[in-house]
């Protein structure tokens, strides 16, 4: 359905996107992962035709949208990272305004607005000003506006940032339902690995403007198939202990979220003995140790050297 070919965007002093290639099949949900500053939002702006690329192309059903942005705009719904709504209008007024600028007819618009309000669970609050809404309600309305003109493709840029778990679950369920029931293709970016794991069929991982890994969840995880993840907790984390761990020959990567330490080490290597020995030497108390199959988070860490939310 959509193909991104060698897409690059250079600003004055910065190469924000460097030769990105990706594709989306009709009805797929694809995740775009990356830490802050990885180039995700710029890639989304390029795909949605809001900014022109320095080089490369975005092709929709085999037609370039760089020269004819109307092609994609007619079938595209974008949920921006910010709450792109008028705070001094009601939920219903916002939906009607955006519906009208999408050239929807008055009669069709009213029924569509009612339908969207139902989907996002705001029917009861439709007459209230958006500024009185909770963060989760604003996020839901932000999604609702993008759904008004029945897009075939929807791009969501971190749609669950800063909201409570209940609203987050509601949004995830809504996205899942839209994808399965209406066959809407979704490109989803998030800081939350579990959201991407839950929603997406395939994943692209970006860092420093480049796609550094791509594939299904299983394919991505298989990057670390020969490794295992050792998660341990200590009472007080000492720098000396950390240095000794990093110096161990079999440790491929190490991440610290005090007091938790996660090590990626090859399978079939018994490293536990060394961990306890070094702990004794540095007088560090180990509270727990878990040996796990590497998660997407571990793969991300392994590839970028950063936590997803860094």
């Amino acid at each position: 359905m959509l193909e991104v070919v060698d897409l690059s965007k250079h600003f004055k002093n910065k190469k924000a996107v460097k030769g990105v290639n990706l594709y989306l099949e009709k009805g797929e949900t694809v995740g775009l992962l990356g830490p802050n500053g990885a180039g995700k939002s710029t890639t989304i702006s390029l795909i949605s035709s809001l900014i022109n690329p320095t080089s490369g192309d975005v092709r929709l059903k085999n037609e370039s949208i760089v020269k004819k942005p109307e092609k994609i705009r007619n079938i595209l719904g974008v949920v921006p990272q910010d709450i792109a709504l008028y705070m001094d209008l009601t939920a219903e007024e916002n939906l009607k305004f955006f519906g009208r600028i999408h050239r929807m007819k008055k009669k069709e618009l009213q029924s569509k607005v009612d339908e969207i309000l139902e989907i996002i669970g705001l029917t009861e609050r439709k007459k209230e000003l958006v500024k009185t809404f909770s963060g989760g309600m604003k996020r839901r309305l932000n999604i609702g506006v993008a759904l008004l003109h029945e897009p075939e493709l929807i791009i969501m840029d971190e749609p669950t940032v800063g909201i409570d778990p209940q609203s987050r679950n509601y949004i995830l369920e809504t996205v899942k339902r839209l994808n399965t029931e209406k066959n809407i293709t979704v490109l989803y970016t998030s800081h939350y690995m579990e959201e991407v794991e839950y929603l997406c069929d395939r994943i692209y991982i970006m860092d420093h403007g480049e796609v550094i890994a791509a594939g299904t969840k299983e394919e991505i995880k298989s990057i670390l198939s020969a490794e295992q993840s050792i998660a341990m907790r200590v009472d007080i984390l000492k720098g000396e202990y950390l240095q000794l761990l990093q110096a161990l020959p079999n440790v491929k990567s190490i991440s610290v979220q005090d007091p938790a330490i996660t090590l990626i080490v090859p399978k079939k290597v018994n490293i536990l003995k060394d961990l306890f020995k070094l702990a004794e030497e540095t007088k560090t108390n180990i509270i727990s140790v878990h040996i796990e199959t590497p998660t997407l988070e571990d793969v991300f860490l392994h590839l970028t050297g950063r936590q997803l939310r860094d």
Partner: protein, 420 residues
């Protein structure tokens, strides 16, 4: 499409109390306060003056008049000519005009107190008075000789002003200068064949009255500030519209609008038209309230609407121009500079605070054609009963400013595919 943008803009302004306060409440309060506080300056009301004028009368008016009449009688002219000349002399008595018609007139009698003295006061005594007027002996005779017998010596009055009471002194000086000029003019008239009686009738009223130069209806303080404040606060509509437009960009609403296949120029046309509508409504509300509460009424409502519409269009031009700069620079500094610095400057130059005619010179000329001054001047003239054709230069100035702003905005506005 544009109707949606206008509807949205109106709802946003209506639901933002801060905006309403700036656009409607503040100007109305200022009209009331300034109209009351500075009313006397605009209305030309006399400040509370108590002028004491000491008059030392050394002239024998009747004796002087008698001597001249005797002289006329002895002239070798026909009896008819003699009678006409004597009537002319009797009908014009310069000191009578000054002391009875001018100082005793209703305009001056409350502020000028004439105290007759026998002798010249001592220096210490003189300080009690705002001025000391000495009418020299033979003044009347000298005046008639100069007027009727071409004697070159011009008679004069001696006025000494008390320097410690500058305001009172300047009033006396103005009155005497005006009197002296009129007397000089009159004394040349008999030879031109003008009837001195006609001149005398106009003389006392001219010295004592205030007239507008154009003879049009004068504007009172509340009307002055209603116009001045309305025009000033009209520009805040542009500032607010530009700020709102930038919020749309910052919140990615602008991106959302572009994704609905709305061309960038149409988005800016939306800002332009909605600003015109808001500014037009603001003016009508403010002038409507001024009419109801302060009695500020337009003699010609159609002309008022024409000026208001053209000013609203210019304000729309400002909104688009500032928005274009904001969008290009990705900052709200243009709005801040406009609202915090430029509007007060535009208002000052335009005469929103004080009448620029009081400053005069080139400043007055610049003011007439500045964005605010052209509007204020056009409104004043309409209020004074002028026709639209009389304010064509102001309207042209407003229109040129609008076209210029729109042209610049078109050049500056972001292009498709640029950074959003």
């Amino acid at each position: 499409m544009i109707a949606q943008l206008i509807k949205k803009e109106l709802l946003m302004v209506w639901r933002r109390p801060r905006e309403l306060v700036i656009l409607l409440f503040m100007p109305f309060v200022l009209i009331t306060i300034l109209g009351a506080a500075l009313g006397s300056i605009i209305d030309g009301e006399a400040p509370d003056l108590n002028i004491k004028l000491a008059v030392i009368q050394k002239d024998d008016i009747e004796g002087g008049e008698g001597k001249i009449i005797d002289k006329v009688e002895s002239l070798p002219i026909s009896p008819e000519e003699k009678t006409a000349a004597i009537e002319g002399i009797k009908s014009f008595n310069p000191l009578g005009i000054l002391l009875e018609d001018v100082f005793a007139s209703k305009e001056f009698k409350d502020i000028i107190q004439v105290i007759e003295l026998e002798d010249e006061p001592s220096a210490k005594e003189a300080l009690k008075y705002s001025g000391v007027l000495e009418i020299p002996a033979g003044f009347t005779e000298q005046f008639y000789l100069h007027s009727f017998f071409n004697v070159k010596e011009v008679p004069s009055l001696n006025l000494k002003l008390n320097e410690s009471s500058a305001l009172e002194g300047s009033v006396l000086k103005d009155v005497f200068s005006s009197f002296q000029e009129e007397i000089s003019l009159w004394s040349t008239l008999p030879s031109l064949g003008v009837d001195p009686e006609t001149i005398q009738n106009s003389l006392s009223s001219k010295v004592g009255n205030t007239e507008t130069v154009t003879k049009r209806k004068p504007i009172n303080a509340v009307t002055y500030y209603a116009i001045g404040m309305c025009v000033m606060f009209m520009f805040y509509v542009a500032g607010n519209a530009a700020a709102l437009a930038l919020e749309e960009k910052e919140n990615q609403i602008y991106g959302r609008i572009l994704l609905a296949n709305i061309p960038i120029p149409i988005f800016f046309v939306g800002i332009f038209v909605s600003t015109i509508v808001v500014a037009f409504m603001q003016m009508n509300i403010l002038f409507g309230m001024s009419a109801l509460i302060h009695g500020v009424r337009w003699p010609n409502v159609f002309d008022y609407f024409v000026v208001t519409f053209l000013l609203s269009v210019m304000v729309g031009g400002f909104a688009v121009f500032i928005s274009a700069i904001n969008y290009r620079s990705n900052s709200r500094s243009a709005t801040q500079v406009f609202s915090s610095f430029l509007i007060p400057i535009i208002a000052f130059i335009g005469g929103s605070f004080i009448p620029v005619s009081q400053i005069g010179g080139i400043f007055e000329e610049i003011s007439q054609y500045s964005p605010g001054g052209a509007g204020i001047s056009a409104y004043y003239k309409i209020m004074q009963g002028y026709a639209l054709s009389d304010i064509s230069s102001q309207l042209l100035s407003v229109s040129i400013t609008t076209v210029l702003l729109l042209f610049l905005a078109f050049l500056i506005q972001p292009r498709r595919g640029e950074s959003i």
